[in-house]
Amino acid sequence: MQNPTSDQPIIRFDRVDKRFGDLLVLDKLNFQVDPGERVTLIGPSGSGKTTILRLLMTLEKVTPAQDPAAEGGVIYVEGRPYSHMEKGGRLVVANERYLRQARQKVGMVFQQFNLFPNMNVLRNVTEAQVHTLKRGKDEAESKAKELLDLVGLSDRIDHYPSQLSGGQQQRVAIARALAMDPDILLLDEVTSALDPELVNDVLGVLRDIADTTSITMLIVTHEMGFARDVSNRVMMFDNGQIVEQGPPEAMFSEPQEARTQDFLRAVLAE
């Protein structure tokens, strides 16, 4: 599934800056993720964790450095520039055409599901396969049905999103993202908009996917139990920088930094 030279990181942030006006959201951020790794990003709101996912989905663009070769500010995916492209031996900000190729490797599940309300469940999962991956209709449908079975919604393929509960919609959204065969799956607070009794269905589906595939996952969540079960690594962010990172057992039981301790105390007290 991944690039054969798989000892290189699948994602690498090289001194990435992201500003919104005067606000510096990511500050010379460096980190990398190995293929198949599951990384949970935690931290207070505004710490930049969702921005990282949005940059990887190309919903936002990095704030470029003057001279990327010297100053960085570049995201790499599978060893190749992602936020930038090579042009005449230099790195320049990627254009839309380049991004269209590049973002095929990445899929995202949103907090608010964002299913297409004008399409039934089946079309939500098949349409992009047909139009952007150029799969045949039959192939797309059998893939969709397989995935809808995986998320436990085989009996709802004719329903419209408005006829489904939030948990069901989110499971369809997971199937929609997986149908594109991404190498990297971004999960942005996927249970935050759900009623409490629906959270476990969605997390259960994600646990299955984590157990049965080798897809790389970046997870922003407040569900610490889920983060502990699924992830190989937890990264604590504050003010656009990594405060601390490590395996979930260590991070949750004996965090070293005061900011991590405060944050976890606040989250776990909920």
Binding site: Q104, N114, N118
Partner: protein, 246 residues
């Protein structure tokens, strides 16, 4: 007032009625095309696309439709040497452009109202901008446009009477002529008659557009036959017995 004369003159309305309907339907079709073209252009993120459309919309909206009608009918043939074989075409073009310019704001507004999350999801599944428009944005914006477009369609029907000013014999034109005969003795019944005709045509448009709206809403999974949520508890069984309105 001579009722027999009024009744005898009814067959003379057949052709003008067809003219009114033709002008309304043809200029509505043109207006719809113009509305989508201008609405999409004014929604563009490119200034070079947005600006000319904006200027055109504001110019058309800011000038008199009657003057535009005269312009297409009488001035353009002189200035540009373009002569319409039928004046009715001038009427259709003037009304179509005018109502198209107004309706383009409806199109633009409905496109702008599609939630941002829909655009982000479209990007996440890697739709091209055109696919995003065709598969996601327009199907969701369309049901939102229909009520306003219905209003414009009815205004257009009523505005079609203006073509009588450039010598096209629609029902208003013929009512003025027949009613004006004999020193205007039958003016009142003829004008009353066409008021009713306009009302019936407007009602037909409403009915058609309501059906279209229901169909469009079903297409985005909204069931219009049932209330979305029950805002108040259903009344007790006994409530109606004590003098319910039904």
């Amino acid at each position: 007032m001579d009722f027999q004369a009024v009744i005898d003159s009814l067959p003379r309305y057949a052709e003008p009625l067809l003219v009114t309907i033709t002008v309304t339907v043809a200029s509505a079709a043109l207006a719809l095309l113009v509305a989508f073209a201008l609405g999409l252009m004014t929604s563009s993120k490119h200034l070079a696309v947005r600006t000319p459309a904006r200027v055109f919309v504001e110019f058309i909206r800011g000038s008199s439709v009657v003057v535009q009608l005269f312009w297409f009918a009488f001035a353009m043939p002189v200035i540009l040497g373009i002569q319409f074989d039928y004046l009715i075409l001038a009427g259709i073009i003037a009304l179509g452009l005018n109502y198209g310019a107004y309706s383009s704001e409806v199109v633009r507004g409905a496109i702008a109202a599609v939630p941002k999350g829909q655009l982000e999801a479209s990007l996440a599944v890697n739709f091209t901008p055109f696919q995003r428009l065709r598969l996601v944005v327009l199907p969701q914006a369309w049901p939102e446009m229909i009520p306003s477009l219905s209003s414009f369609a009815i205004m257009l029907l009523k505005a079609s009477a203006l073509v009588s000013l450039i010598g096209v014999f629609d029902i208003t034109g013929i009512a003025r002529i027949i009613g004006g005969a004999n020193g205007g003795a039958n003016q009142l019944p003829h004008l009353a008659l066409i008021l009713v005709v306009y009302f019936v045509l407007a009602w037909l448009i409403w009915t058609g557009m309501r059906a279209l709206e229901r169909k469009a809403k079903r297409g985005v999974g909204i069931n219009t036959r049932l209330p979305k949520t029950r805002a108040v508890a259903p009344p007790e069984e006994g409530a109606n017995a004590a003098g319910g309105v039904l």
